[in-house]
């Protein structure tokens, strides 16, 4: 029983991290219908930003997560301006192809510049801190990540639901031409959405060096899980992505512990299949 609760807790905390990584992807995918294959690389670069700030300037990740967010906002917006813009309205999947090239470029650029060494930031404020809650061991960095994730997901959701900008975003997502006729500058919306989507994953990456080593391959598995999160929640549904991420975290932890650790990702992907066979548009899709 105690172990079960501990496993559940770890799973939920990981799930919240997945949610933070996935929410940006969800936004971009939902609004623009673009599969951004470089999402995991955004995460990796944000981790490097945070790592170098911490290593060279002794800035704690809790502060440099802002820098991570800003940096990836710019990177995301640039991606849109220089690449994605030219693929809209062209054959489907050209954006996927372009971001695949971008992912390859970013990953190897980091390998080239920073070497394949893995790097850990030590002596951070939260690093390795845990506290006991009854018999449960609660890791502080993961807990803080979960809280940040909740805040960010809440903010993004609030933004799309109750600001003028958010309404414009929704209008653009539903029907681009109609939105343009209404006087919405869809180009600008897309630009900002790519930036904001990047910023959220940048924040996640900014936090992560507290407990995960940084290296050029670190984003790969996270981006796979983020894809599944977004699809499982229903494309474009932010609460859906959150619920899906939590579910994935829990299923991963339970199957990893009670079946076998090698099967934990099998269970996650299996869960997606089972869910979409029941609900072909995801949990919150329509």
């Amino acid at each position: 029983m105690e172990t079960l609760l501990q496993v559940l807790l770890d799973g939920m905390l990981n799930g919240m991290l997945y949610a933070l990584v996935a929410v940006g992807l969800c936004l971009i995918w939902g609004v623009m219908d673009v599969i951004n294959f470089a999402h995991g690389e955004y995460l990796m670069i944000a981790m490097y930003v945070s790592y170098w700030l911490g290593f060279l300037l002794k800035v704690d990740p809790l502060i440099s997560l802002i820098a991570g967010g800003i940096f990836i906002f710019i990177l995301g917006a640039m991606t849109y301006w220089l690449i994605i813009r030219y693929t809209i309205g062209k054959p489907p999947l050209s954006a996927l192809l372009a971001t695949f090239g971008l992912a390859m470029l970013l990953k190897n650029l980091c390998l080239n510049q920073f070497s394949p060494n893995f790097r850990i930031l030590s002596g951070t404020w939260l690093g390795d801190k845990t506290f006991q809650l009854g018999f449960l061991i609660v890791p502080v960095p993961q807990l803080v990540t979960a809280i940040v994730a909740l805040v960010i997901v809440g903010l993004i959701y609030g933004m799309t639901k109750s600001t003028r900008f958010g309404w414009a975003v929704q209008a653009t997502a539903l029907d681009k031409e109609a939105a343009e006729l209404m006087g919405i500058n869809t180009e600008r919306i897309y630009f900002l959405i790519f930036g904001i989507g990047g910023a959220t994953v940048g924040i996640a990456g900014g936090l992560m060096p507290t407990y995960l080593a940084v290296h050029p391959e670190v984003g790969t598995m996270f981006s796979l899980i983020a894809f599944v999160c977004v699809a499982m929640g229903g494309f474009g549904s932010i609460p859906g992505a959150l619920v899906a991420a939590l579910l994935i975290g829990i299923v991963e932890a339970l199957s990893g512990f009670y079946i076998a650790p090698v099967f934990k990702y099998v269970a996650v992907f299996g869960l997606y299949l089972a869910l979409v066979f029941l609900r072909p548009k995801g949990i919150f899709g329509w």
């Binding site: 390998l111 060494n117 390795d128 290296h215 790969t220 932890a253 199957s255 990893g256 076998a260 650790p261």
Partner: protein, 425 residues
């Protein structure tokens, strides 16, 4: 409407030029000197790029020393320029990306297009397999430093030579350590064993050898945890071990995963009594720095560490050159074997007084080679190409340094046993 002007773009010309280059992939003009071209195949990109780039640097270091005069380095052939009356090595590097198909293609390209005399590589056992097969067919010597799969030297190849030890040797050594601890430590009482390894050729081989060795030594494997390399977390893996709580843990975990494993063990406040690791994340020279005090008290097999300088006095000077190529990272047990392989190969060519691969291969088998970079100081090959004099020592990280604890003859410190609990550090 079609914009005709945009049809011929500069980039298209670049593509065309690249394709045109196909016939004439440049190979540096070398006719003027006596040179031996050696092709290197390492995973320079991809998930194990870290190890691959260090291995490449190790080969370059050895070649630098062999080609030039370094009178202060006490390694055979270092004190004169070149070898075999002035022959020099020239390296042609290739990137396997850690993929067997790419590695095989690169082996073929190096042999047929670049015209290399021999090959060295390939770190990943899965790449060494097909790449050395290509070399064998072409009758080219394939020197293998660090691939650990025992199967490689069970193929009776004539031109394949491996300097590193295999998982089989290490597994037996680990079991010996457990027996020794049971004998010498009060209340050690180690009976059960847990295995954690990445689910790849490397990890799987290590685990199989570990199971065999454990069965032979009378230890019971109670938990067997393979995991996906590059996982986002190792929570369930460590939780599984924690709940089974084996007395001893054997690990085959590389680089960043190793760091994550240690961190997760700390997070979950769990430790076995003793943890032994294969040549992997444990002996990565940056791990002690990266993990700080958390890395302490883990044990593992080590073929080389800068703290062995008293036993291997010749390495220090060589390592200076190596460090200039790696940004200050010293040798580890894997990369140093690549240097050993090059030094041994040069000695064999010198001794054979011939560039005929078959003669050199026979010479390699027939002699015992002086190798100041090997722990045993010597290298000799058994049929199949395995270095039968390879040796590694069991070390334990104490205060960020690799302390030798087993076997007794070479020990310089006492083992800290059991591992100090996380909350008592």
């Amino acid at each position: 409407m079609v914009h005709y002007k945009s049809l011929i773009k500069p980039w298209l010309l670049v593509v065309a030029a690249l394709c045109a280059l196909s016939g004439v992939v440049p190979s540096p003009a070398l006719a003027q000197e006596k040179v031996i071209k050696i092709g290197t195949i390492f995973p320079l990109t991809g998930p194990v790029a870290l190890a691959g780039q260090r291995c490449k640097a190790a080969v370059e270091t050895a070649v630098e020393i062999l080609n030039n005069k370094y009178p202060n380095i006490k390694v055979p052939l270092a004190d004169k320029k070149g070898f075999l009356d002035g022959y020099k090595f020239v390296l042609v590097h290739a990137d396997s990306q850690g993929k067997a198909d790419v590695g095989k293609a690169e082996a073929e390209r190096l042999i047929n297009q670049e015209g290399v005399w021999g090959l060295i590589g390939a770190y990943n056992s899965s790449v060494s397999m097909p790449a050395s097969f290509v070399a064998e067919r072409a009758k080219k010597i394939f020197m293998c430093g660090a691939s650990s799969s025992a199967a490689l030297t069970q193929r009776n190849m004539k031109f394949f030579f491996r300097t590193a030890s295999t998982d089989e040797i290490e597994s037996h050594e680990f079991v010996e350590v457990l027996k020794w601890l049971n004998k010498t430590q009060k209340n050690a009482n180690i009976k059960t064993l847990g295995l954690i390894y990445e689910n790849s050729v490397f990890g799987k081989h290590a685990a199989e050898e570990a199971k065999k060795a454990a069965a032979a030594g009378g230890f019971e494997v109670i938990t067997d945890v393979p995991f996906t390399p590059g996982a986002t977390n190792l929570d369930s893996e460590v939780q599984t071990m924690k709940s089974k709580n084996p007395d001893a843990l054997f690990g085959a975990v590389l680089g960043a995963d190793y760091a994550l494993m240690v961190k997760t063990m700390k997070k979950m406040n769990w430790n076995p009594k003793v943890s032994l690791n294969y040549c992997s994340g444990y002996q990565d020279p940056v791990i002690a720095k990266q993990l700080g005090p958390d890395a302490n008290f883990f044990m593992g097999s080590t073929g080389y560490s800068p703290q062995f300088s008293k036993m291997m006095p010749a390495v220090a000077e060589v390592e200076k050159i190596f460090k200039t190529k790696t940004g200050g990272v010293p040798y580890d047990s894997d990369s140093i074997q690549e240097s050993v392989a090059m030094f041994v190969l040069a000695q064999a060519i010198e001794k054979a007084r011939s560039l005929d691969p078959e003669t050199v291969a026979k010479t390699l088998y027939a002699n015992t080679w002086t190798s100041p970079l090997s722990l045993s100081g010597k290298v000799a090959f058994a049929p199949g190409g395995q270095n039968k004099l390879s040796l590694s020592i069991i070390t334990q990280l104490q205060g960020g340094e690799y302390k030798r604890i087993f076997p007794k003859e070479s020990a310089d410190s006492k083992a800290v046993f059991p591992i100090t609990a996380w909350d008592k550090r």
